[in-house]
């Protein structure tokens, strides 16, 4: 079916939605360039709030923590989530259906509940709070996101491909790496990027399990807002916003495309 031209009333609807979703962000970006300490009034263009970011050691530390936690938790969650998806999609075992349903629990559970329960668990097993506990917490909720994305990809994939590889002489391991993984790459990459974004953005769960010393970027920003409002908050928020947006776009593209791997032959 040919896509139909957008009718005018739908254009209005789409415009309203876009406005609601993105106007606040636009205001944020705009005011990050406002040459005024009291950010409600436009006093001319400046880049000084961005320059100030470099002087704020707490922001830089927060950024470093966030990136470290993000990368570590993404890596672990991507491996575990992919294995989980493979098990659920490709094998029959007792409790498989329930496992599949349980995957969604961390996604739909309110963050505050996840945060509290993780904190109680860490206390119970005397796990030291800090970047380590934050990473574990992020792995916990990220596994679900990765597994769901990879699982969706696996379901769209032809099971006969692995069998075809095997009858052509590939053993299970070879078939997995030569045929299954190349098919799964888009799902794995896309799941991993989603995981990184979730980790990088998270405030609620992180603040519960961070303990007293560790602080990720969202925590630093939140503290800044509470203490003294200055437009460098707008600046760092803008940086995070742009980085996140880029990640989302890239992961979305990976989700859609066929594998990019070029042939040698």
């Amino acid at each position: 079916m040919m896509p139909q031209k957008l009718p005018y009333w739908l254009v209005a609807g789409v415009a309203t939605v876009m406005l609601f979703m993105h106007a606040p962000l636009l205001v944020l970006v705009l005011f990050s360039f406002n040459d005024s300490k009291f950010s409600m009034e436009w006093k001319g263009f400046t880049g000084k709030w961005y320059e100030r970011l470099a002087e704020r050691q707490d922001i830089l530390d927060g950024l470093y923590s966030s990136v470290t936690v993000g990368l570590a938790s993404t890596l672990i969650a991507t491996v575990l989530g992919t294995l989980m998806a493979l098990a659920i999609a490709r094998h029959e075992f007792r409790g498989r259906r329930m496992m599949e349903a349980l995957l969604y629990v961390p996604i739909v559970t309110p963050e505050i509940v996840v945060g509290i329960s993780l904190l109680i668990m860490f206390m119970a097993i005397h796990f030291p709070l800090g970047l380590g506990s934050i990473t574990v917490a992020h792995v916990a909720f990220n596994i679900s996101f990765v597994a769901v994305v990879v699982h969706a990809r696996l379901q769209g994939m032809d099971r006969n491909l692995e069998e075809a590889a095997m009858i052509l002489g590939a053993d299970e391991i070879t078939a997995f790496f030569r045929v299954t993984v190349p098919q799964l790459w888009p799902g794995i990459i896309s799941g991993g990027m989603l995981a990184f974004t979730m980790s990088f953005d998270d405030y609620v769960i992180t603040s519960f399990v961070a303990g007293t010393d560790a602080a990720t970027l969202p925590m630093v920003i939140y503290t800044m807002v509470k203490k003294n409002i200055e437009p460098s908050i707008n600046a760092i928020s803008t940086v995070v916003l742009i980085a996140t947006t880029i990640l989302i776009f890239v992961s979305d593209r990976f989700g859609q495309e066929k594998p990019l791997k070029a042939d040698k032959a």
Partner: protein, 374 residues
């Protein structure tokens, strides 16, 4: 299979059973396939034919204690697919979407550690074998090909390994009729030309009759009948086989006595009395079911029936013009009997009767099949 052949069968099943949970997919299946044979597994969906093929491929294992699968005389029950030296064409072709056509075809050669220098030549030869231009298609991806072209690539990918057995799982199912007919002949020629054993799964009886040396007709996880196309078509053993392959008219009755020559039986059935040839399952007083193909029947005016033929009186219900033949539907008692009549030209030599005429449906006693229970 050739009588007195000394070579072991290429593939052999000995009382093979396969169950999935409560579901029995193969129930005591035994058969053997000779070298170079075109062997078809034919049956409706869910009859166990695909499971049988998957047991040969090694994607499934027989139940514990559930018989033996042999390839070239060796029990392979526990061997993995990649240890079996077979090739297979899948129903949906299962081409690797991330690899070009030439890399798809080369995949098996690479897995089998063929010297790198040999691979391009063999890939090209395989493509030519299935009549695909290597210059045009080698670098394309599967998504850029039509269904028929993908089918050829799948075939080339399997044949490039020069397997002793090629398994084909309904490979023509997705093609349109014309292409399908073309590929049927092409597959048959490849089978004879290469000497490769083909084991072919299909639900299309016409396809099986056209291509096969022998057919195993499957129903409810069992082999209902195994034989050449002529045997299957002309001597169906059970009502299922008679109904599944070609068209048939069925008559039921009770054997009431012997025929005048003492060999056959006389049957008292709905619509009248008729003779049937000798058959081990028939005895006086027992119920009998027979099948008669439409083309073995005649429609005659009652007074024209030869003395040595069976004849049941009826009334012409409808005449269907099919071109090559005419189907005359005759109401005999409660049953509608289909009779195929050769069309000798309705404009010059029309049939001597029309709808509503009283006629007789006639056949020679030996031109019927006595059926066993399913």
């Amino acid at each position: 299979m050739a009588a007195g052949s000394t070579e072991p069968p290429v593939v052999e099943f000995r009382h093979v059973n396969k169950t999935f949970g409560d579901y029995k997919a193969c129930n005591d299946i035994s058969f053997h396939v000779a070298k170079g044979e075109f062997f078809s597994l034919l049956g409706p969906s869910g009859c166990g034919k695909t499971t049988t093929l998957r047991l040969i491929a090694g994607f499934e294992e027989p139940d514990a204690g559930g018989g033996e699968v042999l390839i070239n005389g060796e029990v392979v029950n526990r061997k993995r697919p990649y240890e079996r030296q077979l090739a297979m064409v899948f129903q949906n072709y299962a081409l690797f979407p991330h690899l070009s056509i030439e890399r798809n075809i080369a995949f098996g050669l690479e897995m089998k550690k063929t010297p790198k220098s040999e691979i391009p030549g063999r890939v090209e030869k395989a493509m030519q074998m299935v009549r695909m231009d290597p210059g045009m298609f080698a670098r394309r991806k599967p998504a850029q090909l039509s269904g028929g072209q993908r089918q050829r690539v799948a075939l080339a990918r399997a044949l490039v390994l020069e397997p002793s057995v090629l398994l084909l799982d309904e490979p023509l199912g997705a093609l349109d009729l014309k292409l399908r007919k073309e590929m049927q002949l092409e597959l048959k020629h490849l089978n004879k030309q290469l000497g490769t054993t083909f084991i072919f799964v299909t639900h299309d009886q016409e396809e099986a009759l056209t291509m096969s040396d022998r057919i195993a007709v499957m129903s409810n996880a069992r082999i209902a009948q195994l034989g050449t196309p002529a045997e299957i078509y002309e001597c169906p053993r059970t009502p299922f086989v008679a109904r599944f392959i070609g068209e048939s008219n069925f008559f039921e009755g009770k054997a009431t006595g012997r025929t005048a020559d003492g060999h056959g039986f006389t049957v008292e059935g709905e619509g009248g009395r008729y003779d049937i040839p000798h058959h081990p399952v028939v005895a006086e007083g027992k119920r009998v079911q027979i099948a008669v193909r439409p083309e073995w029947l005649d429609v005659l005016r009652p007074e024209d029936v030869p003395a040595d033929e069976n004849a049941l009186p009826g009334k012409v219900q409808e005449i269907i013009y099919l071109g090559e033949t005419l189907h005359v539907l005759v109401k005999v008692g409660e049953r509608t009997v289909a009779v195929a009549v050769r069309n000798e030209g309705q404009l010059t030599r029309p049939l001597g009767f029309k709808s509503g005429d009283a006629v007789a449906v006639a056949w020679k006693p030996e031109d019927c099949q006595v059926l066993e229970e399913d």
